[in-house]
Structures are given as structure tokens and as C-alpha cells.
């Protein structure tokens, strides 16, 4: 389906070059990407490490901690690699809106099936 | 000309509403959800009435306003140019707030009712397990050791607490005139419903969740009886099958005389003679063409023997005779008013037809036709043998 679209007015060669130029300004650079990759790796290592520390897995903070860590990874990829941070707010709306509703729905379902309530009592 | 139209339309609408309302009042509604005969039903009633009342008010206001607008602002000489109003914030806020207030008026009693009706049942309630099957009902009284099918007995004045389960697909347990509301029977779940019957009588029950081919044929009856009659019924159910010949005198002691204009239960069994029941309780389902079995006389003794030696025992329990649990318990089948889950009256004619080709009487029925040579038939029974078995079953009071 990649080709099945009509291009925007700016999409002739010259414009594309201008765009590429702008891109360098508005998009993160190789340096940023390296940092992002490093942070993602560290968080992943952290997550797995936590998994093997009984003191943490047995504590009530285990699940929230993991959720926070993965949410951080999620956000970093979306903001930097998917350059949502730098891009049009149209994209932000198209993604964040559904994401928030979807997450709310998942959480409500867990409550409805008693999976969340159990966890809260169990801890 | 348009004026003419809207006037005609109003007249039409009015006539329709009035005639429908009149029809609604003048005819019998034996399964109405209103005026239910239990505490639970009355709570629901109050709420539903409130909702109906509010809906009626909004209906009259909105439709009245609509009729006024189309009459008043129709294009006509003297109304040729529209006023170009494009909005009015204050009005729009008003018609946001007013519905919000009306909704609050129903939301508050709604939540109150939810918490009231979904509270746990009182401790001393009569426990009844309702088990849905495609397409019949099994009723168990675990504390009393009674198992029966398609006909439920409840004492008035005592809370009945139902544990609703299903053996196969989803069903829904609904006795409109008794409970008003229904609860679904959900696989791998146990659902709860409880209410206290307030009048002695007999009621229709339905399966209200689509459950396959014979969903329409999954009905039941509920008999609410006095506590004494209930005890009598329980005692009888717990006893083994009582084979009652045509004119056996009543066995039990004297029971309380039944109130006038109400069907009186048989004193021996605590069950009800069909002839006494109101018309909407006795099924009128016609037999499918060709289902009739020509033999009308059967020998119960021979029937008992045939029952034992045929496939019947694989599925049906008769206390002391057979252990099958796939189909309804038949220990006291002769004392029931209906067969086939409330589908046909319980008499020789219908029993015979049922045994011969149950599938034709009740589409999808899990009981194979027992008649000889019928397509898909399991049994090898000829008409006389079928009559014998029917006679035997009828005798199981």
C-alpha cells in the first residue's frame, strides 16, 4: 500500500531536499539515538535483574516497578525513535488518544475479571 | 396542504396510542413484568415505573415540541423568510442541564436498587440449584435432597436463593410474574438470584438467553405453595416412585383446603391436577403432523419392563430403577403437569408422541426418537411398546 497515496505539495525534488535539511534540525541525531539505545538497554537489563532478586519479586513494589520501567521504555521509543516528540500534533492525537482509551479498557477488563482486585488483595 | 398532513398525522398518532393503550389494559397479560409477586419483583417494578414515567414525560415534551415546530414554522404565505439564528449558548446549556437532572433522578434509585438486590441472600433461605441444559431445566434442592425437572416448587413467605449454573451453553432464568427480572446461567460460573414469593399460584418461566435450536421450547412452571403443602411435596419427592393406578385413594393425611379460585394441589403428591390450571399454564403446542401414536392403551407393567431393557435408563433417573443423569429425572414424572420443558401437557397422547419422535416435537432434542425405523432413531419400539412405556411413566406419581 506504500504507493497508494497522493503526495503532498512539498514532495518534489527540491522540496524534498529542503525537507531533508529541516529534518536534520527537527529530528534527533545519531548522538541522541545512541543515548536512547543505551538507556533502553540499561532499563531492559534492570528489568531482568529485578526479576532475579527475590527480595524485590516478593515485595509489593515488584509489579509497579516493572510497569514503570516498561512504560519508560515505551515512551522513549515512541518519542524519539518514532519521533513523536518532534512531529505534527496530528500524529500525537492519532496515537495518544487511542492508546489512552485502549489502556483504560485493558485495565477495566482486568477489574471486571477480578484479576486486578485479586492482585491488590494478595499483596 | 402541509398543515393538513401534520394534522392528519397527529390524529393518526393519537389514535394509535390510544388504541394500543386500550388494548393493553383490556387484555390478559399473564407474563407481565409488572406487579410481580415477590419482594424482588416489586423493587424492580417501582424502578421500572419510575423510568416509564420519566420517559413518558420526555416523550410528550419532545414530540409535542416537534409537532408544534413543524406546524408553526411550515413554509406558508406569511412565513417566507427564516430567522437566521445559528445558536444560543444559554439555551444549549439549559438543554444539557435539564436532562442531566432528570438522569440523576433515575441514577440515584438505580444504584440504591442495585446494591439492595445484589446483596447476599438471607442466611435461612431455601437453597435451590438451577442447572440449565439444552433444552430443559434441572432443579435441585441440595438441603432437602430433592431433584426434579422443569417444574419448580417454592413455599411462599420464605426466601428462595437460586444458584444458577449451566451444563452446556448459556441460558437465562426468567419468571416474569414472580421475579420480574432474570439472571443468566453462565458456563463455568455460578450466578445468584433470590426473592421471596408472596402469593400461592402457578407461573410461567422461560429461558431468556438464546441457547440453540429449541431455545423457544425451554420453558418451565413454578408453583408457589403454602409451607405445609411444600413440605408435603418434598416428602413425596423424597419417597421413591409411587406407582399409582387409575383410582388409588389419597395416601397422605388431610391437608389444608386450598383457597378458592386457586388450583388445589393433589393431596397425595402435593402436585396439581392439570384440569385446575389456568389456560396460559397448560401448553397448547400442537403436535406436528404425523406425530400421533395410534395406540391409546398401554400396560404400565410391561412398560416398566421395557423401560428397564431399553436405552431409557442410560439417560434418565428413576429412583431405584435407573441412574442416568443426561436427561430429566423421571421419578415422579407422572405428577408433573407438562412434558418436554413446559412444551406439551402431560398426558398419554403427548407422552407417546414424545417417546416416539421427540426430535419432531422439539427440534434439536438431545433425546433420540425411540420409534422403530425412524430416521436417526435409536430405539426399536413399536407403537404398542411406546404406549406401554407411556402408561408406565404416567403412573409414576
Amino acid at each position: 500500500m506504500t504507493a497508494d497515496h497522493t503526495h503532498a505539495a512539498t514532495a518534489d525534488d527540491a522540496a524534498a531536499e529542503i525537507k531533508a535539511h529541516e529534518y536534520a534540525h527537527t529530528h534527533p541525531t545519531w548522538k541522541t539515538y545512541r543515548w536512547v539505545a543505551l538507556i533502553l538497554t540499561l532499563i531492559t537489563v534492570g528489568e531482568v535483574w529485578v526479576y532475579y532478586v527475590p527480595a524485590i519479586t516478593n515485595s509489593p513494589y515488584f509489579v509497579p516497578l516493572l510497569l514503570v520501567l516498561s512504560a519508560a521504555k515505551f515512551a522513549i521509543v515512541v518519542l524519539f525513535y518514532m519521533h513523536l516528540k518532534y512531529d505534527s500534533k496530528v500524529f500525537r492525537a492519532l496515537f495518544t488518544g487511542p492508546l489512552v482509551v485502549a489502556i483504560t479498557v485493558v485495565i477495566s477488563l482486568l477489574f471486571l475479571f477480578g484479576q486486578l482486585a485479586i492482585r491488590l488483595h494478595g499483596s | 396542504m402541509t398543515a393538513h398532513r401534520s394534522r392528519r398525522r397527529r390524529a393518526a398518532v393519537l389514535t394509535a396510542v390510544v388504541s394500543l393503550a386500550a388494548a393493553a389494559c383490556s387484555h390478559q397479560a399473564p407474563n407481565s413484568i409488572f406487579n410481580a409477586h415477590s419482594d424482588f419483583g416489586q423493587v424492580l417494578d417501582g424502578l421500572t415505573n419510575r423510568l416509564l414515567f420519566l420517559a413518558a414525560i420526555v416523550f410528550v415534551l419532545v414530540e409535542g415540541l416537534l409537532l408544534f415546530v413543524i406546524w408553526r414554522y411550515r413554509a406558508r404565505p406569511g412565513n417566507t423568510e427564516a430567522k437566521q439564528l445559528h445558536g444560543n449558548t444559554r439555551l444549549e446549556i439549559a438543554w444539557t442541564l435539564v436532562p442531566a437532572i432528570l438522569l440523576a433522578l433515575i441514577a440515584v434509585p438505580t444504584v440504591r436498587t442495585i446494591f439492595r438486590t445484589e446483596a447476599p441472600a438471607p442466611a435461612n433461605s431455601l437453597r435451590v440449584e438451577v442447572i440449565g441444559h439444552q433444552w430443559w431445566w434441572e432443579f435441585r434442592y441440595p438441603d432437602l435432597g430433592v431433584v426434579t425437572a422443569n417444574e419448580l416448587y417454592l413455599p411462599v413467605g420464605r426466601t428462595a436463593a437460586f444458584d444458577l449454573k449451566t451444563q452446556d451453553v448459556l441460558h437465562s432464568f426468567w419468571i416474569p410474574q414472580l421475579a420480574g427480572g432474570k439472571r443468566d446461567l453462565i458456563t463455568n460460573h455460578t450466578n445468584h438470584l433470590w426473592f421471596t414469593p408472596e402469593s400461592t399460584f402457578v407461573w410461567n418461566g422461560f429461558c431468556a438467553e438464546y441457547c440453540g435450536a429449541s431455545h423457544a421450547n425451554m420453558r418451565f412452571r413454578v408453583f408457589t405453595v403454602s409451607p405445609a403443602q411444600f413440605d408435603q411435596w418434598v416428602a413425596h419427592q423424597k419417597s421413591g416412585p409411587v406407582t399409582v393406578a387409575a383410582a388409588t385413594p389419597p395416601a397422605g393425611g388431610a391437608s389444608a383446603p386450598a383457597p378458592a379460585a386457586q388450583p388445589a394441589p393433589d393431596t397425595a403428591t402435593g402436585t396439581f391436577p392439570v384440569a385446575d390450571l389456568p389456560g396460559y399454564i397448560v401448553p397448547n403446542t400442537p403436535l406436528p403432523p404425523g406425530a400421533e401414536v395410534p395406540v391409546t392403551q398401554g400396560d404400565a407393567q410391561r412398560g416398566a419392563q421395557l423401560f428397564r431393557t431399553n436405552a431409557c435408563i442410560a439417560c434418565h433417573t428413576i429412583q431405584g430403577v435407573s441412574p442416568g443423569v443426561v436427561g430429566p429425572n423421571l421419578t415422579h414424572v407422572g405428577s408433573r403437569t407438562t412434558i418436554g420443558a413446559g412444551l406439551y401437557p402431560n398426558d398419554m397422547r403427548h407422552l407417546e408422541a414424545w417417546i416416539k419422535h421427540s426430535e419432531a416435537l422439539k427440534p434439536g432434542s438431545k433425546m433420540p426418537p425411540m420409534g422403530k425405523g425412524l430416521p436417526g432413531a435409536m430405539g426399536q419400539l413399536d407403537d404398542q411398546q411406546i404406549a406401554d412405556i407411556a402408561a408406565y411413566l404416567s403412573s409414576l406419581k
Binding site: H5, T6, D13, Y33, V48, T57, P98, Q115 | -
Partner: protein, 215 residues
């Protein structure tokens, strides 16, 4: 493939006005990604709803002894292996942004290298998944075994299918690049592939935590 992906330099493009100055295809891919949130949201919900509800083992995080045979099946998830494959997928995202950057710069050499690298990393992830699935099957967990088996395989399987589609897409871009070279004006075609690819990565981030790590 002779015509290859038409570039935005079409003369006709001038006739097309856009309200936002954005590329149509990019709007569409973001809408698609929004929609995918619900797709994976439903799959993840199902997995979590059925967590701990299987009647028979094997189970993800605990051992299970079959009462009939007395045989014990140990906890099935292999965290070390999956941690590695998770890392591989993360790195493929890095390769992806580098590929996109190269295309934007018009750097033919690196665009090819990074496109291929991304696809290979994706394929490596798939290899890990194949290994994981086969070893689970050997240990007695299939889609038919229990609720965990069904919901686990279908959730991760659908993710794997997305990765597969992504690898094919990346390889297609790679071949187009080999054939006629991706120009800066093709950047949007790489960009949407990248968005898709990162989204698939992001889904894995959620799955890794919710399925593998949380006990």
C-alpha cells in the same frame, strides 16, 4: 518491480493540495498504529484475564505436577533467552532509525547496510521465537494444551506475524534500494516502515513485561 516505488516527484503531485502539509501515507500509518493499540490491547487483555485460570499445566512461572501421571512440568518461560531476543529487537529499532537517517541524507551505502541490518535483527528475533515455540511444544505446551497455551501463543504469535510482515517490508525496501537507490524523496516510504517497525518493538516491550516478567 521495474517501476519501483513511485516517488513524490510526480508532476501530478503539484495538483494535490494537502491541508496539513503532512504526507497522506504517514497520517494513515499513524491511524493504523492507533488502531493496532486496540488489536494488541485485546490480545493482551485476554492473556491477562486468563492468567492463572488454566486447569492443567504447564504454567508460565510455576511448576505443575500432572495428578494423573505424576509427571512434573517445570515453569515454562525462559527468561534469559527472551531477554536476549528482546535486546535484539531493541537494537533493530536503533538500526531502523539509522537506516531512515541514511535515506534522508541520501547516503546510499548506509541506507542499505542499516536496512539489511534491521531486517536481519528482526529475523534473528523470529529465530528466537521459533526456538522458543518449538521448545515449548517439546515441553508439552501447544495452543491446544490450556488457556495459557492458547493465549500465550496467539498473543506472541500475532506479534511474530507483525515482525514477519515488517521483515518482508524491510527487505522490499532493501531490494528497491539495491535496484534503483532510495532517494531523499523516498524518505517517507522508509519513514512509515520505520514507524510500523518501532510500534512492533513497543508492543514487544509491553509483552515482555506483562507476559514474561510479571509473575
Amino acid at each position: 518491480m521495474a517501476t519501483a516505488i513511485p516517488a513524490g516527484s510526480h508532476p501530478a503531485a503539484q495538483h494535490h493540495y494537502s491541508s496539513t502539509g503532512l504526507d497522506n501515507i504517514k497520517i494513515a500509518i499513524w491511524a493504523f498504529i492507533g488502531s493496532e493499540c486496540f488489536f494488541f490491547g485485546s490480545l493482551i487483555s485476554t492473556y491477562l484475564v486468563y492468567k492463572g485460570r488454566s486447569v492443567v499445566g504447564p504454567f508460565p512461572h510455576t511448576a505443575w505436577t500432572n495428578p494423573a501421571t505424576g509427571q512434573t512440568l517445570h515453569a515454562i518461560l525462559n527468561i534469559p533467552v527472551t531477554s536476549v531476543s528482546t535486546f535484539v529487537l531493541l537494537m533493530s529499532s536503533l538500526a531502523m532509525v539509522l537506516a531512515h537517517g541514511a535515506v534522508v541524507r541520501g547516503d546510499r551505502k548506509y541506507s542499505r547496510i542499516w536496512l539489511l541490518a534491521t531486517a536481519l535483527l528482526g529475523a534473528t528475533f523470529l529465530g528466537f521465537q521459533c526456538y522458543e515455540f518449538t521448545s515449548f511444544v517439546h515441553e508439552g505446551l501447544t495452543i491446544k494444551t490450556n488457556l495459557f497455551g492458547s493465549s500465550f501463543f496467539i498473543l506472541t504469535g500475532f506479534h511474530g506475524a507483525h515482525v514477519t510482515a515488517g521483515v518482508i517490508w524491510l527487505l522490499t525496501l532493501f531490494f528497491v534500494d539495491m535496484k534503483r537507490g532510495l532517494q531523499p524523496r523516498d524518505a517517507v516510504n522508509v519513514d512509515i516502515c520505520a514507524l510500523y517497525w518501532h510500534f512492533v518493538d513497543v508492543v514487544w516491550i509491553a509483552i515482555f513485561t506483562l507476559v514474561y516478567l510479571i509473575k
